[in-house]
Symmetry: C2
Subunit: 345 residues, 2 copies
């Protein structure tokens, strides 16, 4: 009997380094987790030409969750690993809730002059299986003056409603109980109308949750000028991609941002990964900050029902960040050791 079976995709660059720390922390707070490593990413692609063999996809499906480091390298053409690996997993495992919490932790500096630690605390629920990420596009008359290229955003009532319902559920469990819908209803009138109508319908089931709507351009602005105003933000796949990077920027950078690609039904495994990439420039030097990977492990623990362990990991991170002296170099493995010790204490 296993506590949990986790597939580990450390990936490329600093992925391996930060995932090692996340595993240390998981093992410390929840002994008995079985971890199986899968070699996927740019390195494997260059070695074998394979991105995600069907047999590996089938094996991954047998796990309770996937812990991912970072995949990618400038040497791989754009789209190959994104579409063939990351997005393939999100779609194959129907991970429709792309969860991205943003907090300005004590001890962390925001680039924003007026915002103090503790004041930013929201979560973006980004749709993960539809929209412009559906891969519905084409090209005609390539490399001629008549070339036309299309990308289609596909949105279903099924897909939109379920992610909005998830966002309302999360808001109900938070203190402020507020959901902001972000879209561009004034231009994308078809998809915008679907999102708005589904939002109104779900809202009726959550009378205790406050709601608001913002256009994506306004939201992008307010994330810079008033990030304190947000509690739960729900939005489509591409808008969520952009907004969560702004959110990361105002809370101290993607070096600290965690994410979960979640299938709330647990029919398929959910996937947890730091938002940062493989950072080839600092890879192999033991200088990467493992905090985003460790916070992703906390989301993983929470998803698997270990809320207490998840909270202890988050608190260990909060204490670690609060104790940092700006300018002191980071040592990946030492931070992992400290976090593992603090979380299991």
């Amino acid at each position: 009997f296993d506590v949990a079976r986790i597939a580990v995709v450390a990936g490329d660059g600093i992925g391996t380094e930060v995932v090692a720390q996340a595993r240390k922390v998981i093992d410390a707070v929840l002994p008995g987790v079985t971890a199986t490593e899968y070699d996927l990413g740019a390195a494997r692609y260059h070695r074998t030409g394979e991105v995600l063999p069907d047999s590996v996809l089938a094996e991954l499906a047998e796990h309770d969750a996937i812990l991912l480091g970072a995949v990618g390298d400038p040497s791989v053409p754009p789209g190959v690993l994104e579409r063939g690996l990351l997005l393939k997993l999100r779609f194959a495992f129907d991970q429709y809730v792309n969860l991205r919490p943003s907090r300005l932790w004590p001890g962390t500096a925001s680039p924003l002059a007026q915002v103090k630690p503790g004041e930013i605390d929201f979560v973006v629920v980004r749709e993960g299986t539809e929209g412009l990420y559906a891969g519905a596009g084409g090209t005609l008359h390539r490399d001629t003056p008549a070339e036309v290229a299309t990308e289609e955003s596909l949105n279903t009532r099924h897909g939109v409603e379920r992610v909005i319902r998830d966002a309302f559920g999360r808001a109900q469990r938070r203190e402020r109980r507020k959901v902001t819908l972000v879209h561009k209803t004034n231009v994308l009138t078809h998809a915008g109308s679907l999102w708005s109508r589904a939002f109104e319908a779900v809202k009726a089931d959550f009378p205790d949750v406050e709601t608001e709507y913002q256009h994506v351009d306004a939201a992008a602005m307010y994330l810079v000028t008033q990030p304190q105003r947000y509690d739960v933000v729900v939005t489509d796949n591409l808008f969520g991609d952009i907004l969560t990077d702004i959110a990361a920027a105002v809370t101290g950078g993607i070096g600290l941002a965690a994410s979960g690609c979640i299938n709330p039904s647990r029919e398929f495994p959910s996937m947890f990964e730091p938002v940062h990439g493989s950072a080839p420039d600092i890879a192999g030097k033991g200088l990467a900050d493992p905090v985003a990977a460790v916070l992703s492990a906390s989301l993983l623990l929470d998803h698997l029902g270990h809320a207490d362990e998840a909270r202890r990991v988050t608190e260990a991170v909060a204490a670690e960040l609060a104790s940092r002296t700006p300018g002191t170099p980071l040592r990946t493995a030492e931070i992992g050791d400290r976090l593992a010790a603090a979380a299991s204490a």
Copy 2:
């Protein structure tokens, strides 16, 4: 013989107030401009049900440029004025260069702690006639569980190449001579590939211009963490919509942001407007800041070949902003008078 024939669409809310100041300034620096007012926007829509009659469109086409204040009101359903008026004009007059300069003016505070006035100075060249703004979308099985809604991004080699060429031309006339292409080539592989290949092709004609590429999510982040790095940014219609609002946020807010919807061929009139909206909450009180409208007038003058007058208007604005005492209430008409006097001195 007219110096220039301008159509004025003051619009709703503070639109009328700020446009009046922009006209004062134009008249002061370039006597002899003929201005014809057109009543369009939310007020007219409510009064007559009309958004943009064909006869008005035909009349507008006869002008050298359009000066627009702001249209819109929460009482109008989303999309009616946007698609029926603003976007209709952009498309009908083939305004493919949506130009949005961003400067952190001396005297203006950025929400960013580390950025000083003078350090941010870039311009976004946003494509204005294609992409997801084409209006190519649809809905099936509306209001049923089977509903699907689509939005299609349409991109042509013709449309993409011409706006990229415009961006390179602008970069060549600036000091740093750098163009950043922003897209999402790793996910939107069809449109992304078209944009990338067109960019490479145009770049060959501008060997003295430095180039870089960024994904839109990364660019959204860097606009917050390192806005100083940008010179000219070229991007698609929707990405440009979002990025320019971030740019406005980091340079003191949309209250200061100007824009031009430009048809460089001058076959049809170009349109100049502040990025801010009609702000019904402060309308009619004489409290709106006319600076964005006046800077839009400067773009208009420049487009019509009056570079000297445009520069004087911009310098008047710079002096006005530098002289402001934070906390002092703004008086729309007084600011207009001061700017007109300074620009014509």
